[in-house]
Symmetry: C2
DNA sequence: CTGAAAGCGCTTACAG
DNA sequence: CTGAAAGCGCTTACAG
């Protein structure tokens, strides 16, 4: 143990200790053929004695690939992002790839800074959950051969692989479910309409209503910020109108949560279907009926697409929609009040 | 745009294009002084024209630090791990550090492989949520100057900074809460006792009972695997004995979840306090009373400790306990049945 | 089977 | 103000 604190032995040190050339050490470390058993033994002894461990960053600089990819999320701390991460990590691990993760916090500027920082590290590829809507800043990177796959939301200004949930189809299914249970006046509470997922879910709502031949009163549709105060206000407006809605479709988990809080003390609860599943949904009374996304499939598909590109797939950019699943647990099967 | 696909321009290319030396390009890229405005302008033009972006991996090889740290979790996909990640990422970002994350899946072997892979990349430091109980494999790394901070569970065979929840104190608070509400026969359902957090929480249970002068019947204590089947069996045993317990302390979120499922159809529900908070806990009827950990504080403290070490702090290894918080919502305030 | 030289893309240390 | 040389820790390409 001669290593001074903070100084690591290099192949050069090992070579000197074993009385061989650098290249011979490299051969032993990498299990390359062409080293006598005796020489290899001497080298291994020196490696153990010095506590040598190969510097992979140096190795990878020479090699050209970094064996790492980056995943840029909205917020690694939320359950949806973390489920995506796990799926991406598993696929990366199969390929011997390490994973950088980073959170944009919905800030387009931070998304850009992080993405470019990852590219500057020369990650082999990038999976991005977009925060902003202009991704032309990534064009030089993709042109230089760093593949980028967009996840959960579409990118702007760049033609690249995109993996999305079937937002419109899922919302349509959820609303159709409410219609099947006798509802005709159905409210929609959603996020800002400029957000792609939000617009798609609203489209699904309209489609379900149209498919059933039901008219839509525009006052039944509330889009805007998803903080509890706004959601609560929208909910009150929809349920206390002269002709109140008898059912609600809440278009994401934050909205569903706020609505549940508001409805907890509500008599004559409207039926409710939410987009996104929640942890204790089946333990509520009534159980919460949801349109669940499949984050594991989203993440895995994004990662596989990325590795396909790294493997040389040069076909046109793909756009893949992952199906959602309706889980009926009670709240979506409440009948409308008898008139 | 002369970049061929897959080939990135280097400082050498920029230098040639601008008709200057490599070093001058470096100066411009790094905003170092000592370049005339005109020269700098020529260099910048060449950078833009070629689409040059500095290779930070190469830079960092020369510099010695990688400006990255790694966080090794049990499973990035679970809410506790992801909350830790976010906290660590925020502190790392303040320092301009990128974050590798990886999941051991509770497998000691995988923990080791991942930790050493990160060390081989020469991350500046490592935060590890232990899966195994022998971490001597990290001794050469810490000796070589790579600081390691252990999080959520203690390490084995290595003297290093450790950040833990106050598991014993939290469990004691939860059980004392049940005692204050009139319970004397209180069941404990916990994980395998060889797991540190599990043993500590059991210790807290015993302490609360002893502090109140209450005897403990060993049949009230069930430790073992935390799959729903085992938990349900334990629960049935505890609540259907001749002298059943009137209250339960469930020692982690998986156990609490399984217990809630089992109790949903139960008349004369026992009071319940769970260790770990759950997302919809306050919307249940009764609301779920919990002892909540503070993953944000755990992660932030671990990351700060790591950066203290990187900043040169060479004081003895620290062991920091983060307080828990009792959140009363109803289930823990149910009285024992009148006799 | 073994090794000396060149190079991955940068920064450091020094000279003009 | 500018640059030529050496070096970070490895691998590649080639020679003996």
């Amino acid at each position: 143990m001669t290593s001074r604190y903070g100084t690591r032995p290099t192949m050069k040190d090992v070579a000197a200790a074993a009385g061989v050339a650098l290249k011979t050490v490299s051969r032993v470390v990498n299990d390359e053929p062409g080293v006598t058993a005796g020489t290899a033994e001497r080298v291994r002894a020196a490696i153990t004695e010095l506590g040598f461990r190969r510097n992979d960053s140096a190795r990878l600089l020479r090699t050209g690939s970094t064996s790492s990819i980056a995943l840029l999320l909205e917020d690694i701390g939320d359950p949806f992002s973390s489920a995506l991460s796990r799926a991406v990590e598993d696929i990366a691990a199969e390929r011997g790839c390490l994973l950088f993760t980073g959170s944009s916090g919905e800030d387009a500027r931070r998304e850009r800074d992080l993405a470019l920082a990852f590219c500057a590290r020369r990650v082999d590829g990038l999976v991005v959950v977009p925060a902003g809507d202009d991704h032309r800043y990534l064009l030089p990177e993709t042109e230089a051969g760093t593949p980028v796959v967009f996840l959960d939301r579409p990118a702007g200004g760049i033609d690249a692989d995109t993996i999305l949930s079937d937002n419109a189809g899922g919302a349509r299914d959820g609303v159709a479910h409410l219609i099947r249970h006798g509802h005709t006046r159905i409210g929609f509470i959603g996020d800002l309409p400029r957000i792609h997922t939000s617009a798609e879910r609203l489209r699904g709502y309209r489609r379900a209503m149209a498919d059933a031949g039901l008219p839509v009163d525009e006052r039944w549709i509330a889009t805007g910020p998803t903080d509890p105060a706004h959601v609560t206000a929208a909910l009150t407006r929809l349920t206390s109108a002269p002709q109140p809605v008898t059912a609600l479709f809440t278009a994401n988990n934050r909205i569903t949560l706020a609505a549940l809080h508001r409805l907890a003390h509500h008599r004559d609860r409207p039926a409710l279907v939410g987009f996104d599943d929640l942890e204790l949904a089946e333990l509520l009374r009534p159980g919460l009926t949801v349109v669940a996304q499949d984050p594991a499939a989203l993440g895995a598909t994004a990662a596989r697409t990325l590795f396909d590109r790294l493997g040389g797939d040069a076909s046109p950019a793909r756009r893949i929609e992952i199906p959602t699943r309706l889980i009926a647990r009670g709240s979506g099967e409440l009948p409308p009040p008898a008139r």
